[in-house]
């Protein structure tokens, strides 16, 4: 309120000073996260928008990535929701269910809506009313990066497309061989260095488990008990625990660059599409990009990233929509996104992105979006689902009992759903 009050005061003071000639500007608050490069890119777009619309004042509110959801909760409590907010796609269901967001279809330029890829539409859609609540320039995926030199040394087969991804037997066989290879300290980096309480765990490890027939929650009955603590999940997580026990996985405390660090101690990396930019800069041609391995019968990959929604309390939804449309079409913003190897969520952006086009180095990652991507459970209990799951994974990766950890997680999730009376109308989704 302070800021709004201040700007209102400032505006009225200006009004008095200029004898009523100047009009009060409409202020639009935009809450976002991002590393310094992105923050600058957003700020520049806002400045260009203000230049084109002199009667609008865009106020960017930065909230650090790691504490974004906490900061968002604080904004809700203080009734200070921004007009536009960046949000992590899996949390969308929670936000819409709680009544923070409004449908954006009527507010966004039609050509942008037509331009969206299927997985981009999927990440912004609320499953109950099938309406679109958020839109983004980008989407995301995780692939398997390989050190070409090491893979050739063990004679590994290098898959060219999602359809011939490594099977579990191949994958574990190669890990075993790599572990004995000269120069390799760890066969694979799964980016445990991101920390034990980050969305990365659910985002990146979830698909491997789903590939093995497991899931975080039953997506029809919305019950975790019987699914997350079921046999398939226990087996899949025990398999991952086994990789850690054998010393195949880069430990948490070794940072997140062991794939391209001095001497290249990690042979494989299960990393996000954004990792390509830094890795290729360091490793040049010695890097191959492969689809995620098929642990079970089907391959599964993640999707979802930070997208933009308009809050239900916004007093200027039209202007907010206008700004979002402006942002997503902004040429320089797109150029910056390209330098960050951003994963396209718009067809026109994909077309201008040689990385992801047919034959491009990240083509496999883009292929996953249409063939194997499965969203994280779109349920309002997601904050608890992911928190409980992270807790269990940390326990299991550090030699805890898989069954015990998963049972505790499933219980926690079901309790949360029960506490919220089944999150109606999700309790009717049979």
């Amino acid at each position: 309120m302070g800021n709004r009050l201040l700007s209102a005061l400032f505006a009225s003071a200006a009004l008095v000073a200029t004898g009523g000639l100047a009009e009060a500007k409409t202020v639009v608050h935009v809450m976002h996260q991002g590393d310094p490069g992105w923050v600058k890119a957003y700020g520049d777009v806002a400045a260009r928008f203000e230049a084109a619309n002199p009667d609008v004042d865009i106020e960017m509110i930065y909230a650090p990535h790691d504490a974004y959801n906490e900061k968002f909760s604080a904004a809700v409590m203080a009734k200070q929701l921004p007009d536009i907010m960046e949000l992590d796609a899996p949390f969308l269901a929670n936000y819409v269910w709680s009544g923070y967001l409004q449908p954006v279809k009527p507010l966004i330029d039609k050509d942008l809506l037509d331009d969206m890829t299927d997985s981009n539409i999927a990440q912004g859609t609320y499953p109950i009313d099938k309406d679109l609540y958020a839109i983004g320039l980008t989407d995301s995926s995780v692939v398997l990066y390989g050190n070409k030199k090491y893979l050739e040394a063990i004679g590994a087969r290098i898959p060219k497309s999602v359809d011939d991804a490594w099977t579990r037997e191949e994958f574990e066989g190669y890990l075993e061989k790599l572990s004995k290879l000269e120069g390799v300290k760890w066969p694979i980096d799964t980016f445990r260095g991101y920390g034990i309480k980050t969305e990365w765990i659910t985002y990146a490890y979830g698909p491997l488990l789903e590939s093995a027939g497991c899931d975080l929650i039953d997506r029809k009955t919305w019950k975790a008990t019987g699914t997350l603590d079921g046999e398939a999940c226990v087996k899949a997580l025990t398999m991952m625990q086994d990789w850690v026990k054998k010393g195949w996985v880069v430990p948490t405390s070794s940072g997140t660059n062991q794939f391209y660090a001095e001497g290249q101690p990690a042979a494989l990396a299960m990393g996000g599409h954004w990792f390509y930019a830094e890795a290729s800069a360091a490793m040049k041609d010695n890097i191959v990009v492969m689809p995620l391995p098929k642990i079970g019968d089907k391959g599964v990959s993640p999707n979802g990233t930070w997208i933009w929604g308009i809050s239900a309390t916004s007093e200027n939804p039209e202007i907010a929509g206008k700004f979002l449309s402006f942002l997503l079409k902004d040429k320089e913003y797109r150029e910056y996104a390209k330098t960050q190897s951003a994963y396209p969520g718009l067809k026109s952006f994909a077309a201008g992105s040689p990385l992801y086009a047919e034959g491009g180095p990240l083509a496999v990652a883009f292929e996953q979006a249409s063939k194997t991507a499965i969203a994280r459970p779109p349920h309002p209990a997601y904050p608890t689902i992911t928190s409980a799951f992270m807790q269990a994974v940390d326990k299991i990766f550090n030699s805890g009992d898989a069954q015990e950890a998963l049972t505790a997680a499933a219980k926690k999730i079901d309790e949360d759903i029960e506490d919220n009376a089944g999150y109606p109308p999700f309790d009717e989704q049979q």
Partner: protein, 310 residues
């Protein structure tokens, strides 16, 4: 003193009025403090006790908030992770207490000597205590790095390479110990200052008398310094215990409760429930329980202080 007691009744009446006046003055002076305590301590506690008995979420939700009685407490007590976190802070306390207080005591003894540049030295030793814990954690996080962080290099050098690098923060057997090391180092300055004050409070005459009686330096330490510091010891131990039970920042920054729950603490557990899982009712239940634990320690403190006649 005795003169006043024998003063005439004529003089006593205005004295009585003065007493009443003084009572009012004192009450007026206490009032702001009491008001602040009521607003910021008592009311929040009552509110959190009430919240603990509801299913209140962190942010408003479409489903109604219900009174759930003692369900949250029941859940806290049946959650193995809560007991793990309680066990962890106890473990932390038992380790950090001798280390931190011992370090504080030794440096206080050292700095109590007449050294050149005494004040500068005192300031230097106090420096970690006024450095923000967040900054300290970030720096120590780098020191702890595995496998080739500075600390591991020192250990490797000192052991002539016989000790393999330790995964300070990533190994469940080491993580809590690493946090103990860093915490003791960061905070011992506070206890050191209290010890210094305690040392300065021991009358010099006692030492002089001991010297005349022919007591050696060691005997003077055992029979003058140590008894003189008894109340200080008790105070420092109890204060450190209470602080240790509230361990949070180091864990939140460095280990987030892991690996394998080895550094999960009660406060961290509470924040996780309240902010990440958005269960304010549940988190309030944990906070009430923590309050009771700290209260018990404080009561113990009073008892101990009384026994030592302070």
């Amino acid at each position: 003193m005795t003169l006043q007691q024998t003063s005439t009744p004529a003089l006593r009446r205005p004295a009585k009025r003065r007493d009443r006046q003084r009572l009012w003055q004192e009450m007026a002076m206490i009032a702001p403090a009491f008001l602040l305590m009521a607003i910021f301590l008592i009311t929040p506690f009552l509110l959190s006790f009430w919240t603990a008995m509801t299913n209140q979420p962190l942010v408003p939700r479409p489903t109604p908030v219900r009174f759930v009685g003692l369900l949250n407490f029941e859940r806290v007590f049946t959650d193995p992770l809560f007991w793990t976190s309680l066990w962890n802070v106890t473990r932390f306390t038992v380790w950090v207490l001798p280390l931190q207080c011992g370090l504080a005591f030794l440096t206080a003894l050292l700095l109590h000597q007449k050294l050149p540049m005494q004040n500068l030295l005192r300031g230097l030793f106090f420096l970690p205590a006024i450095t923000s814990m967040v900054v300290v954690c970030v720096i120590w996080g780098t020191l702890f790095q595995y496998p080739s962080g500075p600390l591991n290099q020192i250990v490797g050098f000192l052991s002539g390479g016989t000790i393999q690098p330790i995964d300070w923060l990533g190994d469940p057997n080491w993580a809590m110990f690493s946090i103990v090391l860093l915490s003791a180092w960061q905070a011992y300055g506070f206890q050191m200052i209290i010890y210094l004050a305690g040392l300065q409070g021991i009358p010099e005459e006692l030492y002089d008398a001991a010297r005349i009686d022919g007591a050696s330096a060691l005997r003077r330490f055992w029979h003058v310094t140590m008894p003189g510091l008894r109340p200080t010891h008790v105070f420092v131990l109890v204060i450190t215990t209470i602080q240790a039970f509230k361990l949070y920042t180091q864990v939140a920054i460095l280990t987030q409760g892991g690996p394998n729950e080895s550094t999960e603490t009660v406060v961290h557990y509470m924040v996780r429930a309240g902010f990440e899982e958005q269960k304010l009712g549940y988190a309030s239940a944990v906070s009430v329980i923590l309050f009771v634990i700290v209260l018990l320690i404080a009561l113990l403190q009073r008892k101990l202080l009384r026994r030592f006649d302070v």
